[in-house]
Amino acid sequence: MTGFARWGAYGIAAVVAVPVVVIVAAWLLPVPADLWPHLAETVLPRVLANTVLLLAGVLTGTFLLGVSLAWLTAMTDLPGRRFLSWALLAPMAMPAYVLGFVYCGLLEFAGPAQTGLRAVLGEGFRAFPEIRSAGGVIFVMTLALYPYVYMISRAAFVTQGVKAMEAGRSLGCSPRAAFFRVALPMARPWILGALTLVAMEALADFGTVSMFVYETFTTAIYKAWYGFFSPAGAAQLASLLVIFVFALLWAKHALERRKRFVSLGRPAQRAARLRLGRTKAPAAAFAWGVFALAFVVPVAQLLVWAARTLSSADERLFALVVHSLVLGAVTAAVACAAALVLTMAQRGGGKPVRLAAQVASLGYALPGSVLAVGVFLPLVWVDHRLAGFAERMLGRDVGLLLTGSLFAMVLGLAARFLAVSLTSIGSGAARIPPSLDEAAATFGVRGWQAVKRVHLPLLSPAIVAGAMLVFVDVVKEMPLTLMTRPFGWDTLSVRIFELTSEGEWQKAALPATVLLLTGLIPIAWLSREERVGAGR
């Protein structure tokens, strides 16, 4: 690959690495002497066990839901598959913290479900499981995060599943065996990529676990910062998270090593779908059930609440939507461009380039507020130097130019969500056989020409999907947006923060509903593209 892309990749990794380096550098700062002994004795054993349980539960849940739903909609004659194939993506637009709030409200003791049951079964009824528990938080996070696995593994099944199944069947496998022994192993790198995203998201989450009062490593980080007033201690804890995620990325790489996963040519267009037969009804109930739980129920609840506060809708809401849209679109473009450079550099690049790509993914695993400070501090440092320089040149102080600018906000958000676009575009590129690069080279098509004429056309679905994922993530994002936004640049998620900072979630139903609709725009668009593209 061209040297330009390689140096570009190093440049991008360097920029994204700065906040991470700042956080790791906190080990040089003093913390209260009794902070670590106290945490190690009372807090860490508990939160580590909780975090492992959460990760195991959410990874298992999203894997089972995501892969099975992808398989059902992509490969079988599931009733309603056309609608479901994109409708099952819709929960992606639902922030996990909103889903958590809705389910806590519905299922807690004082909520309508249990109140109704007590009315029927008698006031003494206490058998309902506690929603604010490990089970509750795993349930909600699985529903919020399975779309990552669903979307990415569905793309894998669509592009190679039919051929894989045909090959498996021709070797005498039953459909079941062909799935488990051929199609699933072949989709493994993509599924692993999606699960890595899920793991990072679950590790970084603060909003949802707080709703369930479930203590994780991330809540311990916030305890050090907000409770013990030690940002340095929080950063030290966060750096342990960084190391863990780095190990996770290496493990994923090791699993894929020495294996090459490329497409088996063009997807078969009108291949016969697998007949579900007697399992049709339960399969349909399962798929529609997931859609109902992850989308219909929470949306219905949000609409009921939003209807009560409809009078508060004003022209400001429109400005919030515009800000969210612009921010999402610009960040998506930046994050995808950066991911494209990293991906191209990795084609034929060696270890250093791959390391650069892994470093560039780390921002995603850090709790938002911690990364926000990591982004903010170097930025404001550069800003002071710039202002000092301008003062010497112009003879007056022009103030800080980068801090509180749109540029800084997009930079921070792109750094956070680069892992997302990278996973999507990287997995798309993995399906392009290297032989194609070689073939192009024999025709004299190299470097940027090859990217433009060979890779980009083949990658466009992956780029669009990556852009959509980043867009939706940016629209949902809270802490970084809060800390880096310019004056007057409030977004929908900022509004939700303001309305809920005193714990009154129902008041935020209107902006939450609008946020959901905003996030649905690219999902609906993508689904149309896909249907048109697939020609069916």
Partner: protein
């Protein structure tokens, strides 16, 4: 001279207090004085980091935050400056402001016992320490220990009784829990109303708001007789405020009757200015003896309090 000062000619506020609670105050201020107010909201911790980073080039003039611990921390981090003002010392009682004059309390919030009117008599519930007694086993609801309001309350218990006794009290609370702890006070009040538990600890304005929404709420407030834990929300002028004069003016104005009335009415808090009456609904809860957290030790005590709660496995 800063460019921003030439362009804006407005007070810039960093606020950890929600927009709905500050906007009406700022709007009235602008109407009365012609001085515009620009603001950004975020969490206290992020705002303090932001002020530290921006240092001498910050655009912020005023920091508004809740809880004495957070105000103590802001002063400790050196992002505020002392303000001498006869108006402020006149309007805000000494126990509700920083001895170093770096910040001034603007509203008072009490954290007290809420009880189920059908199952509990107010006199049996009127004590923080009493809630640790075995008779409340399976009857107590608490909000998470992560919330600064609970940290300050336990800090007060530590200041009153010492760490050892405070530990016993918190251990007792945890042993008495009826269910998992709650993420906010409103859900806790609803749980008492629904019969999941009989007593709990809440900030009074959450009770006021819920009561306003749901007048038949079967919950009432009890006041511990040896003193009710009160905390403050407040504000301070930033160390490098570009528009210091206007910022002081806004701070002074917020301590005056018009703003104090808005603070009190919008959020059903107690005005910090003793000359201003609380809302009628708030007054109806009856009088109580205030026990204000020791502001000069708030931060240190907060750390001790969190450790006590961690040891009690209070989530």
């Amino acid at each position: 001279m800063q460019l921003s000062a030439l362009v804006l000619s407005a007070v810039v506020v960093y606020s950890a207090r929600g927009e709905d609670l500050i906007k009406p105050v700022f709007e009235t201020f602008t109407k009365e004085t012609g001085i515009k107010v620009q603001y950004i909201t975020d969490t206290e911790a992020a705002l303090v980091q932001r002020l530290k980073g921006e240092a001498a080039r910050t655009k912020a003039d005023l920091l508004i935050t809740v809880d004495a611990g957070n105000l103590w921390q802001a002063a400790q981090e050196g992002v505020l400056q002392p303000i001498e003002s006869a108006t402020l010392s006149d309007n805000i009682p000494a126990h509700l402001r920083d001895p170093g004059k770096q910040w001034y309390g603007l509203s008072v919030r009490a954290r007290t016992v809420a009880y189920a009117t059908k199952r509990v008599k107010p006199e049996e519930a009127a004590s923080y320490e009493g809630l640790a007694e075995p008779k409340w086993k399976g009857r107590l609801c608490l909000r998470t220990s992560k919330k600064v309001y609970n940290q300050s309350l336990v800090a007060m218990l530590v200041a009153q009784h010492g760490e050892e006794k405070a530990q016993k009290i918190v251990d007792g609370w945890v042993a008495n829990l009826a269910t998992e702890v709650f993420p906010n006070d409103t859900d806790l009040l609803k749980a008492i109303d629904a019969g999941q538990c009989d007593v709990g600890l809440v900030n009074t304005y959450y009770f006021g708001r819920l009561k306003r929404e749901k007048p038949d709420l079967a919950v009432a407030l009890a006041w511990p007789s040896n003193g009710v834990h009160v905390n403050v929300s407040g504000a301070g002028v930033t160390k490098y405020a570009p528009n210091k004069a206007e910022a002081v003016k806004l701070l002074e104005w917020m301590s005056g009757p018009a703003a104090q009335k808005i603070f009190a009415d919008v959020n059903l808090e107690f005005p910090a200015n003793p000359k201003v009456e609380p809302d009628a609904a708030v007054k109806a809860w009856g009088p109580f003896k205030q026990d204000v957290i020791n502001v000069s030790k708030a931060g240190e005590l907060q750390s001790v309090a969190i450790k006590v709660m961690d040891r009690a496995k209070y989530r």
